[in-house]
Symmetry: C2
Subunit: 237 residues, 2 copies
Amino acid sequence: MSKTEIRALTFDVFGTVVDWRNSIAREVTTSPPLKELKIDGFKFADAWRALYQPSMEKVRQGDIGWVNLDALHRINLNHLIDEFNLETLQERDLVHLNKVWHRLDPWPDSVAGMHRLKTNFILASLSNGNVSLILNMARRAGIPWDMILGAEIAGHYKPEPEAYRKSVELLGLAPSQAMMVAAHNGDLVAASDVGLRTAFIRRPKEYGPKQTMDIEPEHSFDFVADDLLDLAEQLDC
Amino acid sequence: MSKTEIRALTFDVFGTVVDWRNSIAREVTTSPPLKELKIDGFKFADAWRALYQPSMEKVRQGDIGWVNLDALHRINLNHLIDEFNLETLQERDLVHLNKVWHRLDPWPDSVAGMHRLKTNFILASLSNGNVSLILNMARRAGIPWDMILGAEIAGHYKPEPEAYRKSVELLGLAPSQAMMVAAHNGDLVAASDVGLRTAFIRRPKEYGPKQTMDIEPEHSFDFVADDLLDLAEQLDC
């Protein structure tokens, strides 16, 4: 594969660009009024994230019509109210908490790595996060997207092939001119099935110190990098 | 109207942010192989642009299914081959010429004005140009979009209300939290009908020295500015 054929990098966001687990744990343990509840921040983040795939699966299977990720996060948050004793929170607090996904912090290498990558490649998000979530996150954290793509624009959640196909089409590129950048084997396999190039980024602590999945690439991807600065180096940026 | 309620500025692009007429005239008169044909650059630019609204109208009326602006530009270019003696051009030259719309230059104030506006507002394109056109233009010219929206994302060409409504929805905003920025009265009236705020930018030479339309605002818009630096000033950026 020639590096020079690649025109755009399409990024998974949760776990690949931003550190959702530490960001959520920090906010619920340090920001009022949540910090008064003395929640186990990591347990809460893990429980919320555990509902993520099952909730999208209902949309993928057609059990419910299209709803964006903000809406799914809120449905899932409502399921945690009992377990984490959130009953004392007011509605406006829950609305604010639900938008913690718009306030996730990047991994330490992400912004610097992406600025380097942007000199040679179009940078587009290809996330299951909705447009306003990715947009608000980018403005807060300084993530230099050229374009926000992904599930809400395509009307399909990854790993459905339409999510990748529609994104590449909007970029005006052939699939082989785009490379999916992700910390998850399944995402890259699905992108590869549509014809995209693939770069696996090691994020071995995305799910905390006891992570067992996606520690290493399990397939033959085009690039494997320790972080986004390493990817920039490998791509001569 | 409170300035502080506005969260996003949605921009018309052709004529408002970039100077299509001078850009196209310059390219066809200075770049090989077109310059050998000694075309009247302004006459060519005007003739191509004159086919723009009629071609979109066929999509709006449902006479033809959805096609993006690159495709409409190419259909329209084919109609100019006889008039401008383009028969000697090869297919690859026509493909390159059709993408001159991806290579338009901004007005002198645009990039500096938008950098100032970006400090306080989300900046989104809301153009009839397709995503890759606006994206390639932005990377070449340094236009700092937060997000590319508009006709291709909405599946409707302006001034259809769905183009504005879908864009605001994707930003996660109420219409009154977004302001349409455009040099064209009709665009702003259509945006206002959907509930957006409006800012008229004076571009009295967009269509050349003999321009007669859109010289001045013809309705009561929220802001009227001489250029994007003036708009930044008025919005305290």
